[in-house]
Every structure is written in C-alpha cells, then in structure tokens.
C-alpha cells in the first residue's frame, strides 16, 4: 500500500457518496470543456466570415453611390480590419434572361474580403494586372461555355462608356469557386480601374464591404461608421452582411456569455457539493485521524492525507470529465455539422479545465486539512 493507495482507500469509505461526487465533478468538467470549446468555435470560427462583414451603403437608398474618399475614413474606424468596394453594374449578356450580377471590384482586396471564394493565385494575379480582365464563377463559365482567354461581351444599361458605346468587352482570365456552394452568390467580377477609366466616372462606388475582427462588436462599429458621415453629403447606413448574420453575430456573443454563466452556476454548485462532502468525510473520520497521529503520523502528514483526498477526487473527476468530453466530441460535431462548424477540442480549454480541477481540490481540501492538522489526539479519541 502506497500513501496514494491509502488516500484512495479512504475515498472508498462511502463508495456511493464518493462515486456520486465523482460523477458530478465529471459532468461539470465534461460540460466545461464542451461548452467552452463550443463558445470558442462559435466566436472564433473562420466560417463565420459573413458575420464578420458589414455593408456600408447610402443612407436613403442602396442605389445611391458613395464617394471613394469614404474608403479611407472607414478603414480608420476602430475594429475595422479591411475595406473594399463594389458597384452594381447591371447589363446583359446576349439576352436579358441570362441574368447574373456583375461588379467592378478591387481584385486583390475583393478576394481577401471573401475567404470563402477560392481563386488560384496566378488567376488572381492575371486578373489584377489585366486592365480589361474579368473572372467568373466556375459554374457560370460552365453554363455559358466560357473559357479563359474568351472575350465576354456585356451590353450596358446603366453604365455606357464615356464615348457612348454600350458594348463592353471583358477578357476572361479565369474562374473562381466557392468553398461552400450553398448560399454563395455567383458574381461576374471585373476591374474597377477599368470601369472608372472607361466610364470617366472616377471617385464613385456603389457600396463598401467592411471586415471586422470581432463579430460581436458589429453594432458598435456600424454606428461608428455611420457617425463619420452623418452630416456629410453622403450619409451612410451600415448593416451586417444580412439580417440573418446580424442576428447570428448577436447570438454568438450571447452564447459565450451563456456558456460562462452556465459554467459559473455549475462550478459553484460543484464547489458547494464537494465542500460539504469533504467536510462530512472529515467529521466522520476524526477518531481515525487521531489514531493515525497516535501511530506516529505527523500533523502535516495527516493534513496532507486529508488534502490528498480532495485533490484526488477533483483531479480524477476532472480528468474523467475531460476524457468523456473527448468521447462526446464526435457526437457534438455531428450535430454541429448542420451549422457547418468544425468542432474540435480546444487544448487551452483542456488545460484550464485541469487547472480548475486542481484549484477546486485545493479550495475544498484545505479547510478540512487545516482542521485535521489541528486535531489533538487525546481530545479526538475521547469523542470516539
């Protein structure tokens, strides 16, 4: 029998009580790891790009154009990561029934803004360098049988060229795809520089796309942007990419908060429960602890044995909880697949779980350990 074996044996004095406590600790830590990981996944997930983008458009109508000078000002706003712009081009390809949106954009900034749009680096490079270059979603190109190098004629309705010519011609340099085809918006993209030059209308864009680092701050940042232009000639209205993602971003913030409040409640309960259990275990064993001292166990050693019980219970329970979180991860991941979230255990969370287990063991174990240390043999034995 080792000292740890002795501590372990003492925990089995009332096996039902010990195992019930162990189970509660296990569940608490399993919950801790899963909920914290969930919060991390939701708040930090890259796939939530749509929740982290804002659209800045004209205040009174989205058709109103905005001056390009606003781009710089928006980029300065606290919390803004990147800004680019898009413009509604309209126009028809061969027949008005072949409708697809067409935007003049800043090539590099555009693909930087939309990580869910995938483009080969050399295609992006060619797109950026070719004045009349354009890229199309692969599906759209397939539909019309376009290939890289083709000239794509577009009949303008809103934007004739400076000389009155309505027939634009773009050089298709390649295609791009979407990481996830569902909900992707296929847009025919061409160079804004060419657009500005050909129309002779410089310094005007349709709207801005703004990327922010913290989706939960969307509301605050949107207000800050609109405040910039409130009294200008071109007041703006900023919203998250769509109402759904605004609501979603809100919920993401709430989820982190919710996870934390659930966990605080759970841990508070666990703390009380284990504290009561360990206190009872101590009270019941006062004569036994006195016997240990009689046998020559020092005050410090007896205190350590008592503390060891709480530590063992909490660390073992915590470890089991974390292990069961590992086991449950695939199950949770299965559910989250519907939300297109990758659910993987987050190691720092596992680490802090162990830290909390250790702290719990100490908080719960120190008071009975101190009491055990102070026990005087003769008096404790008389209580027998």
């Amino acid at each position: 029998m080792s000292p740890v074996g002795f501590v372990w044996a003492n925990l089995h004095r009332r096996p039902v009580r010990t195992y019930l406590t162990l189970c509660s600790v296990l569940i608490a830590f399993s919950l801790f790891v899963l909920l914290r990981t969930l919060a991390v996944v939701f708040v930090g997930g890259n796939d939530l790009a749509s929740g982290s983008r804002l659209v800045v458009s004209g205040k009174y109508s989205i058709i109103d154009s905005l001056p390009i000078s606003q781009q710089r000002a928006i980029a300065q706003v606290d919390g803004v990561d990147a800004v680019t712009h898009q413009t509604w081009f309209g126009g028809n390809y061969q027949d008005p029934r072949n409708f697809f949106p067409k935007y003049p954009v800043e090539p590099r900034a555009h693909f930087d803004m939309y990580p869910e749009s995938v483009i080969a680096p050399e295609v992006l490079e060619a797109f950026a360098r070719t004045r009349t270059g354009a890229v199309a979603p692969a599906e759209l190109a397939a539909k019309f049988g376009w290939e890289a190098g083709d000239k794509i004629p577009i009949e303008a309705d809103i934007w004739p060229m400076r000389d009155g010519n309505r027939r634009w011609e773009f050089d298709l340099v390649g295609t791009y795809t979407f990481k996830d085809e569902d909900g992707a918006q296929p847009v025919f993209l061409f160079n804004h520089d060419y657009f500005a030059e050909a129309t002779g209308i410089r310094g005007i864009v349709g709207w801005y796309m703004v990327r922010i680092a913290e989706p939960q701050r969307a509301g605050e940042i949107a207000k800050a942007i609109d405040a910039l232009f409130e009294h200008s000639m071109n007041p703006t209205k900023t919203a998250t990419e769509d109402e759904y993602s605004r609501a979603f971003a809100q919920q993401v913030g709430d989820l982190g908060l919710m996870a934390n409040s659930i966990l605080s409640a759970v841990f508070f309960t666990i703390l009380l429960l284990t504290a009561v259990v360990m206190h009872r275990a101590f009270r019941e064993r006062v004569p036994e602890l006195a016997v240990l001292k009689t046998l020559g166990f020092s005050d410090g050693r007896v205190a350590l044995l008592v503390l060891g019980e709480s530590l063992l219970l909490c660390l073992f329970g915590g470890l089991l909880g974390i292990c069961s979180a590992f086991v449950l991860t695939p199950v949770v991941a299965l559910f989250l697949e519907f939300l297109r979230l990758d659910f993987e255990l987050h190691w720092p969370t596992v680490g802090s779980g162990l830290g909390i287990a250790l702290a719990l063991g100490l908080v719960v174990g120190v008071p009975p350990a101190v009491a055990a240390r102070r026990l005087t043999i003769a008096e404790a034995l008389r209580r027998n």
Partner: protein, 227 residues
C-alpha cells in the same frame, strides 16, 4: 532494575469552561524494562489520562515524563510523533482499526512512516499477523472480523514496527471472558517471549492478575501493590 518508564511528580489538569480540574495530582511511577503492569481504578479516576501521558499523546501540566530514555515533555509535536512511531504501540478498547483497510493493510500502516520498501512492509505486516495468529484473515476488513480478531489485528499493528512499549487501554473491555483470556494470553507471550514492556488499564481483576504488578489510581493519586 533499569526503568523504561519514569514519571516524577506528574500533574495533569484540564480546563473545563472557567474551571480547572486537576485529574492527576502528583504521580510517581517507575516501570522496568519488560515489566507487565496493570493500572486499575474507578471510572473517571484518570487512568486513560495517565496512559496518554506515558504514550506521548498528551502532555503533562507539570512533572517529568521520561519514557524510553527520552524526556518527552521537551519534544516538539513533530519529534513526539516520530518518537511514538519508534517506541510506543497502542491498543484501545474499541480496537480503532481503519474500516477501509483490510487486516494486513491496517497492520502495515505504521510502516508507511519507515524507510522500508513496499515488499518489506508487506512481509513485516504478514509476520506480525502470524504472531497474533491471524495470518489467514489478512484480507478481511475489520467489519468482517469478530471483536477478538479485531483486537488481534490491533495488537499486530502495535508490534509491527517493533516498539518496545505497549500501552493498552482496557484491551479486553469489549470482549467476552473466553476471548478476553485469549488476548491476555497473547499479551503474556509478548511480554515474556518478546520482551515488551506493557502498561494495561483494566477494570477486570482477572485481567490484572496477568500483570506482575498492579498500580491503583484513586482521586488523582497512585497506590501500588504486587500482583
């Protein structure tokens, strides 16, 4: 005869609320090496209190307590614990075994304080159980043993670390006549064959007759007589 226990003018008082109760009022007691002494006296006369002083689990209010060559009044609580581990084996009326451990592990317990390896600890525990005749009950927990068997385990625990002095507080107080006699025979053997010094508190004149000497405690003072 060389004495192993030497008490000189020992006083012990307890504070009960605002009252100070003097339980031992000047005890002089010398016990020789290998002696078997019975301590008798009415209930509440201070027998347990005196035994606790001899065993180093309580401290005298005044006077000298020299046991196994050590003036234990001067030891720190840590040193006193070490001293107890090395010199004293305790046997209580209600056995005071740890219910979660089986017989062998109860006996092994004092050896956790030594430098012995796990293997040596188990071997010594097994030997001690053999001495008390309980080798075949090594795996039983106290709850699965009779009172007499539990007291044997307690005695094995008291001798396993080879303490020269056994301090027994009414060791047969909870046992029937026949079982009590078996325990007393065991103490005889330990005294005679193993050279243990034994101080035993008892109410039972038949138990006291096993001792070579009987000390009587009454109203905080000691009177002695040969058995």
């Amino acid at each position: 005869m060389e004495s192993i226990i030497d008490l000189t003018d020992v006083h012990k008082s307890f504070v009960k609320g605002s009252e100070v109760v003097e339980v031992l009022k000047g005890i002089d007691l010398a016990i020789g090496k290998g002696e078997f002494v019975a301590l008798m006296g009415p209930s509440g006369s201070g027998k347990t209190t005196l035994l606790n002083l001899v065993g180093g689990i309580d401290r005298a209010t005044a006077g000298d307590v020299v046991v196994a060559g050590e003036d234990i009044g001067g030891l720190s609580s840590g040193d006193l614990a070490k001293w107890r581990a090395a010199n004293i084996g305790f046997v209580f009326q209600f056995y005071n075994l740890l219910p979660v451990l089986n017989a062998e592990r109860n006996v092994e317990l004092p050896l956790l304080l030594t430098k012995l390896s796990a293997k040596e600890r188990r071997r010594n525990a097994a030997t001690a159980l053999q001495v008390v005749g309980l080798a075949d009950r090594a795996r039983h927990k106290p709850g699965e043993l009779s009172g007499g068997q539990q007291q044997r385990v307690a005695i094995a625990r008291a001798i396993v670390a080879d303490a020269p002095i056994l301090v027994c507080d009414e060791p047969t107080g909870d046992l029937d006549r026949e079982t009590a006699d078996e325990i007393l025979d065991l103490l005889d053997i330990l005294s005679r064959d193993h050279g243990k010094t034994i101080v035993m508190v008892t109410h039972d004149p038949k138990a006291a007759s096993h001792a070579k000497r009987v000390a009587r405690l009454d109203k905080g003072r000691l009177t002695q007589e040969a058995a």
